[in-house]
Homo-oligomer: 207 residues x 2
DNA sequence: TTACTTTCTGACCAAATGGTCAACTATGGA
DNA sequence: TCCATAGTTGACCATTTGGTCAGAAAGTAA
């Protein structure tokens, strides 16, 4: 990796800006975040941040897109012939891993939805909805075959999303109530195992 | 109710302000909300809003306190002799009702936690933590008696909180994916039944 | 009516907002 | 070396921010 100094600085700064911005946007939402605060968190002058990202709006959109990419990378295929237990467990585990590895991104996403998802309407109504319906179809077939209870698949997907997302979005609450400084790997292991157990059993899926 | 005009106007305006503020704070968080926007939503001049509430900060705190009162009103007592199925089902149902009747308040609360809960540290570490531990103790005894599976009670409480809260906080997502304009009473009935069924069964609670 | 209190509001303020720009300093290839 | 390009930044701008205040308006009680 023998890069010219200029591009090295560029990538370094861009990374610092994205990281800082994700933090600030997650904490305060789009309106509540200030370019000044982001610049300070990145250790750069405000003008320099704007030189790199163009505008606050574009920075925000770029972060949302990065998060959607991570999300999409998680969403693998599914077939009726697959084993329900395996698929749903893998689903819970990968969603939980996303939460654990990108809590800031999770919170950024949450803040966007909380605010009425003004930038994500298209994505939610398009790609994501299709993905949910595709899964739902398979879940219903599993239920018909008696491989799981006849529950509404969409509510099940929301249950998994909410239960996992919670540990990023409500981290402050979780940490306060469990009297920890932060959740560590073994906590996340425990929680993931707990969720797999309760949800699979709750849906009548044998494993 | 024959009130003098002055007090009638006062109560009317205060109500309008609280409602408008809950909406704006929920949508944009503390920093992102502007007194101007709240005033417009309440149909009053900004100066008038500040005349009533003193400051943005005090308005925000008053709203959080109102939400905590609603929350506390929901949290009833629990004893080891009670029936687990009944208690947990009632718990899920009352939490869901809070979500349904006060979605703005739910979102306000969520935004506060997302931002690191700067105004709620005390409450989370005090009252709420005590309440959770009290419940957890009883859950553990139920598990020992074989009335439910030996799961971590705190994760269970978080599961119920997250799964219910989700339908207020992520309403924009739910609405987009299910292609509705809004969730109605029968939707909430279905979801509540679904959650009771899956969670009770998932915890090995017979009913 | 009069006297007094409460409600209301436009004008105003210092500070912060997102964004522009001209001037400056690297950097890297010729 | 020289030059063009890229990176950097403080000064600056119009607008918005939360909040104050003087005084107008309206209600209340005698």
């Amino acid at each position: 990796m023998n890069m010219p100094e200029s591009t090295r600085a560029r990538t370094r700064n861009e990374k610092a800006i994205l990281e800082a911005a994700e933090q600030v946007f997650a904490r305060h939402g789009y309106r509540g975040a200030s370019v000044q605060a982001i610049a300070e968190a990145a250790g750069l002058p405000k003008s320099n941040v704007l030189y790199y990202v163009g505008s606050k709006r574009r920075l925000y959109v770029a972060l949302l897109e990065r998060m959607m990419e991570r999300w999409n990378a998680m969403l693998d295929d599914i077939r009726v012939e697959d084993d329900p237990a395996e698929v749903i467990e893998a689903f819970i585990r990968s969603k939980m891993q996303l939460t654990q590895t990108h809590p800031q991104g999770s919170r950024l996403f949450a803040a966007e939805i909380l605010g009425g998802a003004p930038f994500l309407q298209e994505y939610l109504h398009g790609e994501l909805r299709d993905w949910v319906e595709e899964r739902a179809r398979v879940f219903r077939q599993w239920a018909e075959r008696g491989q799981m209870d006849p529950i509404d698949p969409v509510w099940l997907i929301f249950l998994i999303w909410s239960a996992t997302q919670h540990y990023a979005d409500f981290e402050a609450q979780v940490v306060a109530i469990t009297d920890r400084e932060a959740l560590d790997d073994s906590d996340y292991q425990d929680i993931t195992d707990f969720l797999c157990q309760v949800i699979l059993k709750g849906c009548g899926i044998r494993r």
